[in-house]
Symmetry: C3
Subunit: 308 residues, 3 copies
């Protein structure tokens, strides 16, 4: 492949070409090797400043980005929305302009409003990396999932990937979907009818409301985290009942292909989305997803920094 990265921002997987996605994954492969060395550090972003601006809190994603930045030798500022000038009535754009005035190079932002990243990216010279926006997108999560699948199977083409759970509210499902489709995988969404709308069929996803149907013939199953608070909104009666119909256990595991991967974006609810022994079992790549996440984030930061 012979393609140059030209984007200062990573906003949505939807925006990327298949070649761009592959370039991120190839770059991440190199950084994964860096993270396995004795000295897990390269000077690629030395003297660059990255601001982690998390208007919506997220410890896991922030720590993964922060370590990625440290291993690239960047200077790092962590800014929580709760302590930013947003709480003093400053507009989001003014906050961003202030960050830019501090000569930041890249802003890694989590913000609940879909579209906030795109708006910001248009108005700042800084690179903008989307670290999650409401239920809309979470591109680095999608990329790390795809990286993990590609690493095991060599290619995404023709693979059957089933994503199970609360599709409706999941930025992980959306970001995965766009990336998987672009790279030639077949995508199935399954979950309770209240949480898994038929609309996704229009973009080429198979939608079903039955676990067996989703799992038979699948090469990969990605189990979304159940947000307990949804239970109280009437989307499903109880986590016990959710587990009974959509939880992965040793019986339903048999429906998958023999070498199928079990994935989960974490943190897992043991014996809700999947039984405890499957989480720790040989098909589970859940912890590899965490390792790969850092490599993918290093790649994204490295590529976007390269065009600034």
């Amino acid at each position: 492949m012979n393609i140059t990265w030209t984007r200062k921002d990573l906003l949505e997987i939807y925006d990327l070409t298949a070649a761009e996605i592959e370039l991120i994954l190839d770059t991440a492969e190199e950084f994964k090797k860096v993270c396995q060395r004795n000295v897990k550090k390269v000077p690629a972003l030395r003297g660059k400043t990255v601001v982690n601006f998390f208007v919506e809190p997220s410890t896991r994603t922030r720590i993964s980005f922060e370590l990625a930045e440290q291993r690239l030798s960047a200077d790092i500022i962590n800014m929580a929305g709760s302590s930013s000038s947003l709480t003093k009535g400053e507009t989001l754009l003014d906050t961003i302009k202030n960050i830019e005035a501090l000569q930041a190079d890249i802003i890694v932002m989590r913000h609940s409003a879909p579209g906030a990243h795109e708006f910001i990216a248009r108005h700042t010279k800084c690179g903008v990396v989307n670290a999650g926006d409401g239920a809309h997108g979470h591109p680095t999560q999608g990329l790390l999932d795809i990286f993990t699948i590609r690493e095991k199977f060599g290619s995404l083409k023709g693979l059957n990937v089933s994503i199970i759970g609360d599709i409706l509210h999941s930025r992980v499902a959306r970001s995965n979907m766009w990336g998987l489709l672009k790279l030639g995988a077949n995508v199935t969404f399954a979950g309770p009818a209240t949480l898994c709308p038929r609309e996704f069929e229009e973009v080429g996803v198979r939608v079903c409301h039955n676990l067996r149907e989703a799992l038979v013939g699948a090469d990969v199953v990605n189990l979304l985290r159940i947000q307990h608070e949804r239970q109280h909104c009437g989307f499903f009666p109880s986590t016990t009942e959710y587990n009974q119909f959509f939880g992965l256990n040793n019986d339903s595991l048999k429906w998958l292909k023999p070498h199928a991967l079990v994935m989960h974006p974490g943190p897992i609810n043991r014996d809700v989305e999947l039984s405890s022994d499957i989480a720790d079992g040989e098909r589970s790549v859940i912890l590899e997803q965490v390792s790969n996440g850092m490599a993918v984030r290093m790649a994204v930061l490295f590529l976007t920094a390269g065009v600034l």
Copy 2:
């Protein structure tokens, strides 16, 4: 100029000679160039430890200092008052002695009590940099404002600088005043009578309670942030009324000299202290103030570290 810096502390602009202020500004000019380079980092404070001790929270000032310290390659500890041993009944001096025992070199402190910095500085070998104390002083804010003016006009001598708003509670106004007067500028304070006391006339400031009087002939207008909580204390009836009498808009802008600068310490309240188009207009140097703040803080840290 041929002057050597001899202070381990930066407590108040009031303490500094004109030559010392100019030395800080000259040094900041060099560091501003560093911040515009591709690699925004120098090893000046490598192996030195700076503790940011913010007993009173302030995200903007803390981040500006923290980035300044990173770009000087210092080791950095952030300590909030709320999580310090002060909450366990430790005296401020004992907390500082503990920080000193950790072989810290410089303590950047924000504390609401005027005099706290001076007291601490006398009792520790560490350098002490005042990052704001109650309504008393905020020397690096004053210095960055003066830096910004000097950068545009070459010299402060004979310039008319008007500072508008809540003078009574403003550490920004006080720190600006001393620095501006020392460098030969003419200073005017204007604001509602409840917030702009006549006492400042004694040190050579012109005080008025009318925006037009303050703006006519001014080279610089510095608009202080309105703290909404003051409204409830009866200092002024409403922000709308404040805006009507003291907000800068396209009409009142005409009273200024043609090349006058519009400044604000941020975060701005759009259409309260100034109209939105002026904030974003060509006279506004509000975001340059943010950039210059970092350069000035690098200079202060560099100079004080040099005498430790």
Copy 3:
């Protein structure tokens, strides 16, 4: 001495041989010199990642570790329990496995459950350093106290060390006890009967409930911090009464040997555990303990990192 460090974890002083303790102290001596240099930094842990995971908050200990890590040039992540996935129902082991998947090298953990560190250490490849666990142990505090004593007296052998206060709830007392006994010191515990149980006599500690008895002939007195909340539990009537019976003042100071050291783990309650002039007096090594703590923590991190 010619001994090699072979442990990936530092869990309890109880586990260590006298030779291992001496190796830590010898190594700390070297790092103490580093902390007194102009450039307080060595590249020993460059490219290594240390995660400070404080499930129970502790600013003093965390900052001491964080500075130790910075001066060893490690990459550092601070994780509070309150913001970790533990609050989302993740198990402690899953959280640790996630940290491990981020290729962390060492986890510095404070956790209130005794045994948590030992359990975690068995299940992760990462080095685990105990930064305090409930009332059970706080090995680096014990080590820094012993370092401070050894530095002054050359050897622990035959020294009389008296530890005064709330022995019952003190991890400091327990960790000190094991280390002191292993190195040949005589240990006395003293405090109100409700807070100083006789059970410790079984392991060779002298227990008494009278300050004079504890101090006469002592080479070292270590005054534990009074937790004011204990007062409300009926362990002692008031801090005033505690001070009267167990506080060190100029009268009780005379019972000690002429060159005896006065120690306290901090933060001190002036005029409760000891009078203010003794805290600041020539026998007090309280602030040296703080300095030595950093050197000891650098040594522990350096040694454990060496076997990973």
